[in-house]
Amino acid sequence: MSFLLILKTRICLKYISPLFNPSTAAFTPLNNVISKLSVSARLLCTKGVSRHAGNNRKEDRQREFNIRERLPFPKSVFAAGTAKRTAEYQKKRAEEEPDFPRKNKRVEPPDHPLTATEWKSLKLTSPNPDRFDVRMMSSMLADGTDINVAKSLLAYVAMDTGTLSYELLLRYLTLCVGSGHHSEVFDMYDIMRSRFRTLDTGASSLFIKGFSRTERWKEALTILENIKRAITPSPRNYGDTIAGAVLHGDGATAWALYAELMEKGLIPNQETWQALFQCGLSHQGHEDGLQSILLHMRDNQIYPEETLAEDIKAWFESLPEQKWIGSWSTADPRGVCRSCQAELESIQLSREEYAQLKDRVMGDVIQGRDVFNKTTPEELESFKNFVKRKPAFDVVIDGLNVANIGIKGNQSQTLLEVVSELERQGLVILLLARKHMQRPSRSWDRHDMSLVQQKAHCFFTDNISEDDPFLLYAALHSGNHCNFVSRDLMRDHKACLPDGATRRLFFKWQRGHQLVLSSYTPGKRVRFQRILSYDTIVQTNGGSWHIPYDENGAERCTYEVPQKWLCLTKAK
């Protein structure tokens, strides 16, 4: 499928399709979008509010709660930042414990170069003269002290002991590279190469970083080769070298290194991609390479950060002969880009993908290496027969999860409410539950449970079996239209899947089919969070690109997806 897609996009991009219709993209008032964006951003930004906490903390907290309650629509659990907001909210609710400041044992670096005698006296007066030089250098590093101060320390140590330890030199080197003293880095390179047989990975990485910014950037390649003798270089090593090549206009080397990086199965940094897009900006060519980066992001469900998104936009807009227009956009709930009105890709899985996911879930999540881990063969068999006998379900409910949303001791009633609501919508319901729920008790009312069993098909698993795998299987078995109700994020089941590709398939299916009941108050109508109809992924149809990106400063959990889009369309 993705192979086909690549073919298609390549063809489309090479021959500008005359059929392409930019619809109303260009005419959408951009201001409108931006103002909407800023409003929603302000509404959602709890961070800004909590920042100026201080004397009137309580008031702030109050205000924050109000903002939260005023949100018109509850955000999907998969929306970027939801987890962080929840965590902050819960942290606020928990009693604020005073955090004890850690014992400050570090030495204070001086603010100007000292003479040998001064250093000596400082060392003698320090509470712990052991490894004084290294600790002093570390705190200089942390404070970003002037390089001359560090030099004076080195001079003192060299005169005092007659030599300098590798560790001390390494920290000094970090300081030099960090503050961009290139000539000093060159000197250090000569010294360290002559003094020590080899360099460790830390020093090598620093030299690569230092050299790649200067005209001696080609030596970074040599250092990279040296690292390879003992260990695989890190993506950052490659990234720095690539950035060096790009900076000095050697696109061919940069791309060769990038190919090597990908070949080794490493995951490139965003900065590396940024460098390559900047390379594309200043030099023509490499269009296929850059587009393959975007497709790589698509295949691996990676989202660019805002700075990279800006570079991508700039590169597209710089392409000669093709007039690309980039704009910052969001998607509306129906899955339409607010900027160009184009429809975004559907969240539904293709038939092959669906079949593959179904097999995988059966094989790896339920059976796994040992059927007995999660269930027993007899139970699995009876469940399979049960599913086969019944008609396809429209919705599968995780009974225990749903029941526990409500108040304690009222579980069966909550369950009944949810089941009734779904029944009112005329859906075929499967309720998955455990056997202990059939036994009448304070939380499981017999009357409620019998009503539930009238309204829905029920399957009761053993008390020690896991019910989630059955839920997943039943939902997948029923077909693409079937949704499931649970608040569980299913991360443990996702982790059972063997490879990244299948996990992403699972996540896509989950986003498209999970109904989440965010809160429940007895007596009120049961409301589910909206399922988005579009997939949040880098996508193209030849004439346009839609790229979701992470905003600066917004922290996203792995099971959340970004909300902002970069919309790129070709003008006529």
Binding site: T115, A116, K151, L164, D190, S194, D200, L221, E225
Partner: protein, 378 residues
């Protein structure tokens, strides 16, 4: 704050001149030992550098340095990491280097090196302590000799009137041996299920066997030992290899335990078996002298929950877990205990039958005291 200010301008200028003096110090200082090697190396590096500097091939650098084997390169890397202040061992054997080179990921290499470094540290501190003790002892003997020349140890010393000759360890061994033999004949069986080899890494297997050694030791010293059964012990498996290695072939043959390839379900009636696992839904309330308890011989450092429960389910055995939550205010850590803790708990239960005493062997860091103790304190 306590930095002395520069007194005069003259001094300051003098100081500025001094700033780069360390460079010349470092440049003119050539490592004495490695001088020859270094020269050769340097030439090579330059050759390699020249080749690689050509834009055509970043791979050119390798050609000049082919002489350095990957193993040697790894060793040098470890040496430099040590100099950079990382937690790596000082010396490594070739075997350890081989293991290191085989490890795939960087993090696994780091972990292995850290493990070796910690092991080395323990060894070193142990040696130091031993030497210190030796020195102290010889000092004490000297002192004794000074106070009473030809004292207790002297041949000429007066023979003392004692009830026993010195009670040697060997006498105790004999006694414990008798007891174990008795247990082999009449004791209550306790099974260690050795069927988890596939689920464990090498390290975990080694840890398991260490714990089994302790288990046997605690059992032997108990007043009323269990009859230990090592079931599912495959003749060519890792468990046996490691056990024989640790005990020594001779001691392993003489060990008073039953080790067998057979499964526990073949040896004992199914109804008598109780599989002890922390994942069990049933709580062990009382220790039953007529049951055969089964403990899974496994250390799980990763996350494979429910393995032993799955095994018990497959064989349709009764399961039980210790009543940890009923007696202890659990704080941190997993509810699965080490094998030696398990046997000490079971031995105490068997002898006294009181949970409070038995659960004394649960590590203190995992809980915050017994539930019963609290009201007494208040």
């Amino acid at each position: 704050k306590d930095v002395p200010l520069p007194q005069s301008k003259a001094e300051q200028t003098e100081e500025k001149l001094d700033l780069d003096i360390w460079k010349s110090v470092m440049r003119f200082q050539v490592p004495a030992v490695e001088e020859e090697k270094l020269g050769g190396e340097e030439e090579e590096e330059e050759e390699g550098g020249g080749a690689a500097a050509a834009p055509s091939g970043p791979g050119g650098g390798v050609a000049g340095q082919e002489e350095v084997s990957p193993l040697e390169a790894t060793r040098e890397m470890v040496v430099m990491w040590r100099q950079a202040g990382k937690l790596v061992p000082e010396t490594m054997t070739d075997e350890e280097l081989g293991v290191l080179a085989e490890l795939q990921t960087k993090s696994s290499k780091k972990k292995y090196l850290k493990y070796l470094a910690i092991k080395e540290g323990h060894k070193k501190s142990h040696k130091q302590k031993q030497e210190k003790r030796k020195a102290e002892r010889s000092e004490r003997f000297l002192e004794d000799d000074r106070i009473r020349p030809g004292g207790l140890r002297g041949e000429e010393g007066e023979p003392r009137n004692t009830f026993l000759l010195q009670f040697w360890g060997r006498s105790l061994d004999k006694l414990l041996g008798w007891r174990s033999a008795q247990a082999m004949a009449f004791g209550q069986p306790l099974v260690f299920d050795m069927s988890y080899e596939q689920q464990m890494t090498r390290r975990e297997l080694e840890n398991t066997v260490s714990q089994l050694l302790e288990v046997e030791g605690w059992n032997r010293r108990a007043p009323d030992p269990f009859h230990l059964h090592f079931c599912n012990l495959q003749p060519d498996g890792g468990y046996l290899r490691e056990l024989v290695k640790r005990y020594g072939a001779e001691a392993w043959e003489r060990l008073l335990v039953t080790s067998t390839e057979q499964r526990h379900v073949d040896l004992f009636p199914r109804d008598d078996l109780v599989y002890l696992t922390a994942d069990s839904p049933n709580v062990l309330r009382t220790f039953d002298n007529s049951k055969v308890y089964v403990v899974g011989a496994m250390v799980d450092r990763s996350i494979q929950s429910g393995l032993s429960l799955a095994n018990a389910k497959r064989l349709k055995l009764n399961t039980a877990r210790l009543p940890l939550d009923d007696f202890l205010q659990w704080e941190t850590g997993a509810k699965n205990l080490t094998l030696d803790q398990m046997i000490r708990i079971l031995l105490t239960l068997k002898e006294r039958g009181r949970w409070e005493e038995a659960l004394e062997y649960v590590p203190k860091r995992k809980h915050d005291g017994f539930y019963q103790e609290k009201p007494q304190q208040d």
